[in-house]
Amino acid sequence: MKFRELSSGRQVEVQLQQQGSTIQARIGGAVAQIGRQLLPDGAMLIEIGAVRVRAFAARAADSIVVSVGPHSFTFVPLKASRGASRSGLANPLVTAPMPGKVLKILVAEGDQVEAGQPLITMEAMKMETTLAAEGAARIKRIPVSEGQMIDAGAVLIELSPLDSSKP
């Protein structure tokens, strides 16, 4: 399956090759092996190089959360091909990273934006966070308004690629 890891933004494709006392996986074009041992509490000991680490993975709502020792990851499964990737826009949706309130909308539908340009400011836990464009794009739709309370993952802004003439 192909995943996008939410924190780092890294994409990765994994195929398990064999089940046994060792996990064999094809990952990023190479074959990796991980030794593993199931623990009574549902966790797993895995072997990374010469180091043994306690790990756990579980499916949450739309993602898979994974711990490898003190590291935490969130993987979102990606469809093999997607409209957005065709257009060259990594992610056509700007979504709320956490629940909170929309403070200020800094762009309007139809605007053309540059990479890094601030799009929207939200407040959560009494702190302001400004979300910026990941690449050049056009603002397609803004389904939220200032002052609105939003959940984590809510779509704040829809983008379209610049070569699209329709706003």
Binding site: L6, S21, L38, R52, A60, I64, V66, K126, E128, A152
Partner: protein
């Protein structure tokens, strides 16, 4: 004089939540007090309820209707028959209004008296007080309208720092590097300050680019006795909030240490300090500057407790009962605290939430973990995202540091994005090992930080395993019903396991 008679505390209400509520409850229970928890609707399953003798609902999730709601807390105190209230840190802990209301309700406020809270809370007034006491302050202004700001900036040069007059915890704070950003920063800081403290007043300071942040624990009793008990190094910060603290401060001279501790005691005496508090300083080369007085128990108080073998919450309760201060023994060893937050270190420490799906907390010689984490609880984003304080104590800094590293390696929490791995690598860094760092260290360290490629790939493989586990039966270990069956986990659905480690 009646002021010098001791008062008896039997039933203590803890007007807080999270790890600090649990920590206060533990000392109170050990002292034989009856403990009363309060909680908002968002915290109905929170571990601090279960730890107390009784628990009272004080309102909805939004803090201003619950943990910041003076009337609601006093109602709970009356219903429970409390005779004292401990405010913890944050929320109402530094509110003179709250302290006064508690007093007027005939209850004991476990903290400084209202006039001390007011004096410490007025950051501008505290600067003036320090100046009168001969303690240096960072050059700055007393107000921050656009005109004042512009002329101050011209005088001292950029960068300048905007701060909230009623501030604390980094809220309403902004560094401004050039004039073009000034107006927007003033507005944003004002809004944040207004939201956090209901007080939008700001002031300005020259921004020291790479100072150390060092603070001193103070204690004062109702009989006029004030002491300063050791310093804490708190330079490792993100978003102007501390994430690693230690005591003693490494790499400052004995003379600087003595000077700062002395200045803290002087200031504490000057404001007639009572109960526990902290005097914060910036140290820049051979100079030091008074920053502010935090008139509350500090998040990082455990590092002082371990070094001095002194329970600061027990001391707060004794002081509130008007007992004379007990002199701490001389300090010993070295303590380091790492704060694990529900935040994403990869994305500017953005707050995160979730459920605790798996948890293994560190333990071992010299390790103390102050936390409210527990299996299966929900971590919301209504409140501060502090999950756990991992505190390592050792005979010297090196032992404490090595114990901390081993402890953070043991910290496993699935279901919430958290900062344990970042902290682990920060503590493992050469800069930290040398003890040579300033407030810029975290932001210098952060950009290059990421998990090793092996770790990332292993995680991806486990994600694929979990994805394939399909409709695997849930684990039955923790069911509490029926016979105990063998474990089931996503891994098991994938076929035969043999022990990898049986070589």
């Amino acid at each position: 004089m009646p002021r010098f008679r001791t008062r008896r505390i039997n039933k203590l209400l803890i007007a807080n939540r999270g790890e600090i509520a649990l920590r206060i409850i533990r000392t109170a229970r050990a002292l034989g007090l009856h403990t009363i928890a309060v909680y908002s609707e968002a915290d109905a399953d929170s571990p601090h309820l279960a730890a107390a003798h009784e628990a009272h609902l004080i309102g909805p999730a939004e803090a201003r209707h619950s943990y910041l709601n003076i009337q609601s807390i006093l109602d709970a105190a009356r219903a429970a028959g409390a005779d004292a209230i401990h405010p913890g840190y944050g929320f109402l802990s530094e509110s003179p209004e709250f302290a006064r209301a508690v007093d007027q309700a005939g209850l004991i406020f476990v903290g400084p008296p209202p006039q001390v809270l007011a004096a410490a809370g007025d950051k501008v007034g505290a600067r003036q007080l320090a100046q009168r006491a001969g303690v240096p302050v960072v050059p700055g202004t007393e107000t921050a309208d656009a005109a004042t700001a512009r002329s101050f900036a011209v005088l001292t040069g950029y960068p300048i720092l905007i701060k909230a007059a009623a501030g604390g915890g980094g809220r309403g704070m902004r560094v401004v590097h050039d004039e073009s950003a000034l107006d927007a920063a003033l507005q944003a800081a004002g809004r944040e300050a207004q939201a956090a403290f209901s007080d939008g007043r700001l002031f300005l300071e020259k921004y020291l680019t790479a100072p150390r942040h060092i603070e001193v624990q103070i204690l004062g009793d109702a009989h006029g006795r004030v002491i300063a008990m050791g310093e804490r190094e708190c330079s490792l910060q993100r978003r102007h909030q501390k994430i690693v603290e230690e005591s003693p401060a490494p790499a400052i001279s004995a003379q600087m240490r003595a000077t700062i501790i002395d200045a803290a005691a002087t200031l504490a005496a000057a404001v007639g300090y009572q109960n526990a508090g902290t005097v914060e300083f910036l140290v820049d080369g051979d100079n030091f500057y008074f920053l502010e007085i935090n008139a509350r128990l500090q998040v990082e108080h455990p590092v002082t407790e371990l070094r001095f073998d002194y329970d600061l919450v027990a001391a707060q309760l004794a002081i509130a009962a008007r007992q004379p201060l007990i002199e701490p023994p001389p300090p010993r060893g070295h303590a380091i605290e790492c704060r694990v937050y529900a935040e994403d270190a990869h994305n500017d420490f953005r707050p995160a939430g979730g459920s605790v799906l798996y948890l293994q907390l560190p333990a071992g010689p010299g390790i103390r973990v102050d936390t409210w984490l527990a299996p299966a609880i929900e971590i919301g984003t209504h409140y501060d995202g502090l999950l756990a304080k991992v505190i390592a104590y050792g005979a010297d800094r090196d032992e404490a540091r090595r114990r901390m590293l081993a402890a953070l390696d043991e910290f496993v929490l699935t279901g919430v994005t958290h900062t344990a791995a970042f902290l682990r690598d920060l503590i493992a860094s050469e800069g930290f090992a040398r003890g040579e760092f300033s407030t810029t260290f975290v932001s210098e360290f952060l950009p290059d930080w990421r998990p090793s490629d092996e770790t990332f790939k292993a995680a991806a493989i486990l994600a694929e395993l979990a994805a394939q586990s399909g409709t695997a039966a849930p684990a039955r270990r923790w069911n509490g019903a029926g016979a105990v069956s063998r474990r089931r986990s996503p891994w098991e659905a994938l076929g035969d396991f043999s022990l990898w480690s049986r070589r």
